[in-house]
């Protein structure tokens, strides 16, 4: 009776075993799938963390670059971990600004050798940049007595040979950024130079202020050029265009000023009064536009200075447009504040300004810019013939001069004084050491007052178009010249600067160049231009004095491919042939503060 009942219960257990077996097989399969998926998810997330760590490290370098640019000292860069999204970055840094060593051994005999011998490399960074004479050199390693893996002629400079005992400069912040995200760590390094930063203010695209009567008044739109630059030697170049189509107004001596607002210091001002004005078409007696130039080097400027132009006139009606460029801490520079003299009575030249940078001043490519003003105090009309206002290396070549004759009306006559200004932009390539630069002039008579200020910039990448060729403005627009450079592409924090000096002269018909029609063109489009119309009167015997005019343009480029070009294009009011002639000198500078950025693979 009971045996059969037990058999029944056994029969029920048969399906249970099958079910368990099936379930086990399915469970194993699911577990395998799950394990594989979770491994995939884990490795994906680690990959993502690695990417996060990389970009955190990169942003750390950019943060450090930005802090250094805006005046934070290398040693003051924050070293605490900073959260960047889901990751964090930690900076470490070393200031490499050692007592300068010298080139050792037999010197650097070729322009291609990649090992630079030195008497010692103590205190120099393991990689980065050095400056020897006027050449920037990037290197990738050091031994006790050499720099190895050198890239010559870095940052747009010219590779050159160097004698033994030449000075080796270094002033850089070596930064390492460690990005961390989860279990991933990525490490990036960069060498960031102290200096070689720049800032630019261009009023040609903003509101143009009026020169106030009786009180000094800011001539920039806004508060001026508010820089966020580190402490150092600041080179300031300013172009002030003035125009008054009303009655004549005078800006007296010292009343057109380049000011450092932060320190409340006047850096430079006009030595001669500037008369601007005249109603109606330009004639012999009317000078409705003037251009004035400042060049100045502020030695040992503190961080974050503000620069502006101030002016004060005797009568209402003068408008002003300002461009200001500041270059912070080029490796080597020099300057001369105002000097003046009467121009020589042709054929004799008179020295207006002479400047010898404190020796030892290294050889290399020297950028020399002089801002000149003249004032006819002779009681008769005067003229400086073509090429007779010169920027020269003493005992050497002429670096820049006027292409067209400058006719200057006597200040003894009624109405405006024909005092004017000019920018002489020059470059001495492969200059020998310890130069002397001279501004000299001669005129067709005595007592033509001339004043000049001068700066010298060395060891930065540069290119130069010397101009000096009269180009008829027979087309609209006409190119006055194109400066083709071999500059490297710009990377973070770097900039190219273009400074153009132009001069115009008419034939026997009056001509104008309307506002915005003289353009500095780079990156494929006009970037900066003249804000005021330039009027030139007919160059006839009775009124040659307003038939020539000097102008200047400056621009700054922050994004570009390698080998950018800069050109000046001008559209005349009429393209009737061979009436208006123009000329342009263009100087390009390449400022690259960041030497290299690369990943340290652990």
């Amino acid at each position: 009776m009971q045996q059969p009942e037990l058999n029944i219960q056994r029969a029920r257990g048969f399906l249970l075993i099958v079910a368990i077996l099936v379930l086990v097989v399915i469970a194993v399969a699911i577990a395998a799938l799950g394990n594989m998926t979770s491994a995939d998810v884990r490795s994906s997330s680690q990959h993502a963390q690695s990417e996060q760590a990389y970009f955190a490290a990169t942003s750390g370098l950019e943060y450090a670059t930005r802090l250094l640019k805006s005046g934070t000292a290398c040693g003051a860069l924050p070293t605490a971990a900073t959260a960047v999204g889901l990751a964090s970055v930690t900076l470490s840094r070393t200031l490499n600004n050692p007592v300068a060593t010298t080139v050792g051994g037999a010197g650097v005999a070729t322009t291609t050798q990649t090992t630079i011998p030195a008497t010692s490399t103590a205190g120099y960074a393991a990689h980065g940049r050095i400056v020897i004479d006027g050449e920037q050199i990037r290197y990738t390693g050091i031994t006790a007595t050499s720099f190895t893996g050198a890239t010559r002629g870095y940052g747009g400079t010219t590779a050159a040979t160097h004698l033994a005992a030449a000075t080796v400069l270094q002033n850089q912040c070596s930064v390492q950024a460690t990005g961390t995200s989860g279990v991933a760590t990525r490490v990036m390094q960069s060498a960031i130079q102290n200096g070689l930063w720049s800032e630019f203010l261009d009023d040609s695209s903003t509101a143009v202020p009026t020169v106030a009567v009786g009180t000094l008044h800011t001539l920039n739109a806004g508060s001026g050029l508010v820089t966020s630059l580190p402490a150092g030697n600041n080179i300031v170049i300013a172009i002030v265009a003035l125009r008054n189509i009303g009655a004549i107004s005078t800006i007296a001596t010292g009343n057109l000023r380049l000011r450092n607002v932060t320190t409340a210091t006047t850096l430079a001002s006009n030595l001669y009064g500037i008369d601007v004005g005249g109603v109606g078409a330009p004639t012999n007696n009317l000078f409705d536009q003037k251009t004035f130039f400042f060049v100045h080097r502020e030695i040992g400027a503190a961080a974050n200075q503000t620069y502006r132009i101030e002016g004060q006139a005797t009568a209402a009606g003068v408008n002003a447009e300002v461009k200001i460029m500041v270059i912070n801490g080029p490796p080597v520079s020099s300057s001369q504040t105002t000097q003046s003299n009467n121009a020589g009575n042709a054929p004799a030249f008179a020295t207006i300004l002479t400047h010898t940078p404190a020796p030892p001043y290294p050889p290399g490519d020297n950028i020399v810019i002089a801002a000149v003003q003249w004032n006819n105090n002779s009681g008769a009309n005067r003229a400086i013939a073509a090429t007779d206002l010169q920027l020269v290396r003493s005992g050497g070549a002429t670096l820049a001069s006027n292409t067209f004759a400058i006719n200057i009306r006597t200040n003894a006559a009624a109405n405006a004084n024909d005092n004017g200004g000019m920018l002489l932009v020059g470059r001495e390539a492969n200059a020998a050491a310890n130069p002397t630069y001279v501004v000299q002039a001669r005129a067709n008579g005595l007592n033509l007052q001339v004043e000049a200020k001068l700066i010298v910039i060395s060891a930065v990448g540069s290119a130069y178009l010397p101009g000096g060729v009269s180009i008829p403005l027979n087309a609209s627009p006409t190119s006055l010249g194109t400066l083709s450079t071999g500059f490297p592409a710009l990377r973070l924090g770097a900039a190219n600067i273009a400074v153009a000096a132009t001069q115009y002269a008419t034939g026997n018909t009056a001509r104008s160049i309307n506002a915005t029609n003289e353009d500095l063109v780079f990156g494929g489009s006009p970037q900066t231009w003249n804000e005021f119309q330039m009027d030139l009167c007919a160059n006839v015997l009775t009124s040659p004095r307003c038939a020539d005019f000097a102008m200047g343009l400056m621009g700054r480029q922050t994004i570009t491919d390698a080998s950018p070009s800069f050109s000046v294009q001008t559209s005349p009011s009429s393209t009737a042939v061979n009436v208006l002639n123009g000329e342009a000198k263009i100087l390009g500078m390449h400022l690259s503060p960041v030497t290299d950025r690369f990943e340290v693979i652990p």
Binding site: M1, I8, V22, T151, P488
Partner: protein, 169 residues
């Protein structure tokens, strides 16, 4: 009688009729075939997944390696780049002046300086791009480098692309 009838009924419950057996076999067959499908798909999925994962990581890690190297290319030592733009061979110097060369061998192995980096790379193309992302062969205009790589195995075919801006250009 009642006992006898009870006694007869018990043997009938102990056995299975043919119909019952057929039903059980059919049901078990259905369950087994479903189970086989599930298990087979799972196993195939696992095997294919393993293949995909392997190919994926070949591609990802190779691309990662290539991008790391390309980021460290130093201006102006990219003189070898333009000559090999648009091909499967790419040679350049990094910031430490170390020469790095990527090539694709005949048996579809990606080589870095002759060392195998990834297998089953059926296609590898380096393109040089200028700053407006147009293809260029002009040395000085190179601003980005794009990499396109296909990893193909029996069951998968994955394309990996990226564009790198070298830090030092």
């Amino acid at each position: 009688m009642n006992r006898a009838s009870t006694r007869f009924s018990i043997p009938r419950q102990l056995g299975f009729s043919l119909i019952e057996l057929i039903v059980v076999i059919v049901v078990l067959g259905i369950i087994a075939s479903m189970g086989v499908i599930v298990v087979r798909d799972g196993m195939l999925g696992y095997l294919r997944g393993r293949e995909i994962t392997s190919a994926d990581w070949q591609g990802r890690l190779a691309l990662e390696r290539i991008t790391r190297d390309l980021r460290d290319v130093a201006w102006p030592n990219y003189s070898n780049i333009a000559a090999t733009c648009g091909t499967s061979t790419f040679t350049f110097s990094d910031v430490s002046s170390t020469l790095i060369s990527y090539t694709q061998s005949t048996n579809n192995t990606l080589l870095r300086n002759g060392q195998p980096l990834a297998d089953n790379v059926s296609s590898l193309v380096f393109n040089c791009l200028q700053s407006d992302v147009q293809t260029t062969a002009t040395l000085s205009a190179v601003y980005y480098v794009s990499v396109s790589m296909v990893v193909a195995t029996t069951n998968t075919n994955a394309t990996y692309r990226t564009t790198v801006k070298p830090e030092n250009f």
